[in-house]
């Protein structure tokens, strides 16, 4: 098989190749997603695949898993040419995949999701009990105490991703493809996953691992393959490379690392734009999703909400948007009390949420990129009583440029965009409404370093323009750089609040896990207090 220029070192003492893609090219109408790419999967190793959003990673994986067929090029299984005409055939060959966009059945429960089409039966009867037992074992491995009988519809993103992983683990595969498996996982959950990956390695399973979390890649990766614009950019053993190398190979240009911007003078004097006072939200079937949450945000401030999954961060945002009428407590926007306002009214008042689950809450899959972006701001493009195409398109194209959304034309169906670019589209929709307070729930999920940098830059820029930006993230590293202030939620309560200079990993983790006594909320910070 052909060897890429700098692939020399890695073939020396490398374990055998199970699956190889040779000169694989994939054309979509109007896009060349893959351009004669070579890729190999080593047995008992973690084969990392990285690249910018839209580089072609998922497409390549879909080809390995039999979802898509290559326009040209071929696959070799144990050196023998093979053709996967369906995921079924791929699975029979021992290829398992965890898709980037979750593929679950909301109407079925966890164990049914895991065993669908591979049910455990006796005499043609499905052994639900048995399935649930196995499911519980799998979930224990993943350290997720979930009830196998819960409907997947009622799970949140992170939990759904766990189910996907469990599903893949339940079928003993020779090759396991993971397309951004940790995008919705917390540090703890990720660690659990890594333990499992190590275990799989020892059992000789070849793992393909895609992620945009570069540090993570280097910790578990054995071999790194970099794609750029559908071409093979580089290959190397993981130990021989570092983050700057990765960034350089995948982006080509040097990306400005996310920075904490210089504080704007007098910001702290300004009146708070958003005040939340003793917000509480009961959870169905007992307990509170949120309990007496109070916080204030000033114009031009970036406030991060940190916490573990299930901490209630998403609910906090949902309450602010008015999705939970049963919530109690008061919310003030620019001093004005908000209670009965509809979502539209809140948007017009300058509140905008970029939801965490882009597929279910963010996108209209049947509309084009353009129409998705303008959806929340149509009124602004109305002349007389119809839409002005020209003005609408102008607004849309500006954002596509600002956020560097990778799409052939604004009229492309949204489904044809890569995961990360879809995320950008949702963000673009939010920005087009010209909000005063922007609520970003996991805005950097599934976004490449370059784009992440861009998004943080945008957040900084918006803050400089006087916007208040609240963002939820499960990524510790992000906490140290961008936010002026971090509020940690734990089990629905405010478990701590830290100013930029106070933020340390230990403190955040302690607070998130509820081990730290919440000090009296310090917000708003005293004007004298200098930022560093």
């Amino acid at each position: 098989m052909s060897i890429a220029p700098d692939a020399g070192p890695m073939l020396a003492d490398s374990p055998p190749v199970i699956l190889a893609a040779e000169k694989v090219t994939k054309r979509f109408p109007g896009t060349l997603a893959l351009d004669s790419v070579d890729f190999v999967v080593h047995a008992g190793a973690v084969n990392v695949l990285i690249g910018e959003n839209g580089a072609g990673k998922s497409t390549l994986m879909k080809i390995l898993a039999g979802v898509e067929r290559p326009t040209s090029g071929r696959l070799l299984l144990d050196g023998v040419p093979v053709e996967f005409r369906s995921t079924r055939e791929a699975a029979q060959a021992g290829v398992g995949i965890i898709f980037q966009e979750l593929n679950l059945y909301p109407n079925l429960n966890i164990s049914e999701n895991i065993f669908v089409s591979r049910e455990i039966t006796r005499g043609g009867v499905v052994q639900h009990a048995k399935q649930e037992k196995v499911t519980r074992e799998l979930l224990d491995q993943l350290e997720q105490p979930l009830i196998p009988g819960t409907l997947v519809r009622d799970l949140r993103m992170g939990q759904q991703q766990i189910v996907e992983i469990a599903k893949a683990l339940s079928q003993n595969v020779r090759i396991l493809i993971m397309d951004e498996p940790t995008s919705a996982l917390t540090a703890a959950e990720t660690r659990a996953l890594f333990r499992i990956i190590d275990d799989l390695k020892t059992r000789g399973v070849g793992i393909v691992y895609i992620s945009h979390k570069l540090e993570e890649l280097l910790t578990i990766g054995d071999y790194v393959t970099v794609l750029r614009d559908g071409k093979l950019a580089a290959r190397a053993p993981a130990r021989s490379v570092n983050v700057p190398w990765l960034i350089d190979k995948m982006v080509g240009r040097n990306v400005r690392p996310a920075r904490h911007r210089a504080e704007a003078p007098g910001r702290d004097a300004a009146a708070p734009v958003l005040e939340v006072n003793r917000l509480s939200l009961p959870r169905q079937g007992g307990g509170f999703a949120l309990q007496d949450v109070s916080l204030t945000v000033r114009p031009g401030e970036i406030l991060a909400i940190y916490g573990l999954m299930g901490a209630g961060r998403t609910e906090l945002f949902e309450c602010l948007m008015g999705l939970h009428p049963e919530a109690s407590g008061e919310v003030r926007l620019g001093g004005r009390l908000i209670q009965r306002e509809t979502i539209r009214e809140r948007i017009e008042l300058g509140l905008m949420l970029v939801p965490e689950d882009r597929q279910r809450l963010g996108l209209i899959q049947k509309l084009s990129v353009a129409h998705n972006i303008s959806l929340a701001s149509l009124q602004r493009f109305v002349t007389a009583f119809w839409l002005s195409d020209r003005r609408e398109m102008a607004g849309i194209e500006k954002l596509i440029r600002d956020l560097a959304i990778k799409t052939r034309s604004p009229l492309q169906p949204i489904t044809s965009l890569s995961g990360g670019n879809q995320q950008k589209v949702v963000l673009a929709k939010g920005l087009l409404t010209a909000p005063r307070v922007l609520l970003l729930d996991e805005p950097t999920r599934g976004i490449d370093v370059g784009a992440k940098g861009e998004i943080f830059e945008i957040m900084n820029r918006l803050a400089d323009q006087g916007l208040a930006v609240l963002f939820v993230s499960s990524e510790l590293p992000e906490m140290f750089i961008i936010p002026d202030r971090v509020i940690v939620l734990s089990k629905g309560k405010v478990a701590g609040e830290f100013l930029h200079h106070e933020i340390t990993e230990g403190a955040l983790v302690a607070a998130a896990s509820g081990r730290l006594q919440p000090k009296a909320p310090v917000a708003p910070p005293p004007p004298s207090q200098p930022f560093s």
């Binding site: 059945y105 109407n107 079925l108 591979r118 079937g285």
Partner: protein
């Protein structure tokens, strides 16, 4: 955001999971059923008599059997408008086979079958119609609504052509030809219960088992829940869809045989607009037309609601036009009641919080 709201109620309830009480409570339209029964029992002395209840259930059976098949189709997110015509077609087939036999021109002979064979052949015809629908929907991916609408016309037309618009009368068969006994299907009874009812029970029980306990059943729900995911996780979506439409065709044919047997005649127009009743029963039973959610027992309850209503209104001798109005209102109220009960449940759930 009523989508999640609906979830707890109409999710495929696993009997194993919860007590029968809860199960019943969870079935849609049950309240409506009780209320209606109550009202009619009060208004008409002859309603809540054993005899009438048997007749009522018997009349319901015809619709229920179709609805059972329809449930599978709707669970996959499809729909079958052709059931009514299939009823007519199967009826005519049985009529033809009994009165005329099967002419085999090449051999220059006419073959007469005995009743069991005739029934089998007519049911097979139903399967065939279903397969035709399935083929259109899977191979040529025609939208189920359109595909089955087409079949609705084709099958009806064929039924009418089969005897050039005329009825096959007096389907008693003759001893010499050994094809007597067809009327028993519709008129006979075992242990005092009409055979029709036994058939309904059989179909319902088997269907409920298949839907709830077999891999096929799970996969039907899966296809309805997320077809693309189903494709990707190796389910033979095409095969599943083919099968559900064939099941639906089979059930419709069964209904056709029963009506023919009851009327002791095969009328080419029989079954017209039955599809609406069947679908109504399914939806009243809490199955979501979007697919993926619903139960067979729910469907049976739905069919009973319609059955009780029709029977009761006849007993009260309500004038035809008022019948229509009342039927409409009840159908709507049945579901509204349901929604309210559901919300109540949620309110309570929160209260408990």
């Amino acid at each position: 955001m009523h989508i999640p709201a609906a979830a707890p109620v109409s999710a495929p309830v696993k009997p194993s999971g919860l007590s029968l009480g809860v199960l019943l409570f969870r079935l849609r339209a049950l309240i409506a059923l009780c209320v209606l029964t109550g009202i009619f029992s009060v208004l008409s002395p002859s309603f809540f008599t054993q005899q009438n209840l048997i007749i009522l259930v018997g009349q319901t059976a015809i619709n229920a059997i179709m609805a059972v098949g329809m449930t599978f189709v709707i669970l996959t997110g499809g729909i079958d408008l052709s059931v009514g015509s299939t009823v007519g077609l199967a009826a005519m087939a049985s009529g033809l086979l009994i009165n005329r036999g099967l002419p085999l021109p090449p051999l220059g002979v006419i073959v007469y079958f005995n009743v069991p064979v005739i029934i089998t052949l007519s049911l097979a015809l139903g399967l065939l119609v279903g397969a035709f629908n399935g083929l259109l929907i899977t191979r040529f991916n025609v939208a189920p609504f359109i595909a089955t609408l087409g079949t609705l016309y084709v099958a009806r037309g064929t039924a009418q052509l089969s005897n050039n618009g005329a009825t096959f009368p007096n389907l008693v068969g003759t001893r010499e030809l050994g094809n007597t006994g067809f009327p028993i299907l519709g008129a006979g009874s075992v242990l005092g219960i009409p055979i029709v009812i036994w058939i309904m029970v059989l179909f319902a029980a088997v269907a409920a088992f298949v839907a709830g306990k077999t891999p096929f059943g799970r996969q039907v729900y899966a296809v309805g829940g997320n077809e693309r995911a189903a494709e990707l996780s190796g389910i033979y979506v095409t095969r599943i869809k083919m099968t559900v439409y064939m099941i639906c065709g089979l059930c419709a044919a069964m209904t056709g045989l029963i009506t023919a047997s009851q009327l002791v005649a095969a009328h080419p127009g029989v079954g017209e607009s039955y599809e609406l009743n069947a679908i109504a029963a399914v939806v009243l039973g809490g199955t979501s037309l979007a697919g993926g959610r619903g139960t067979i027992w729910g469907t049976i309850i739905g069919a009973l609601v319609i059955g009780v209503l029709t029977n009761g209104l006849v007993l009260l001798g309500v004038q035809e036009f008022w019948k229509k109005v009342i039927t409409g209102l009840v159908i709507i109220l049945a579901v509204v009641l349901d929604q309210l009960q559901e919300r109540l449940q949620q309110r309570l759930a929160l209260r408990r919080a």
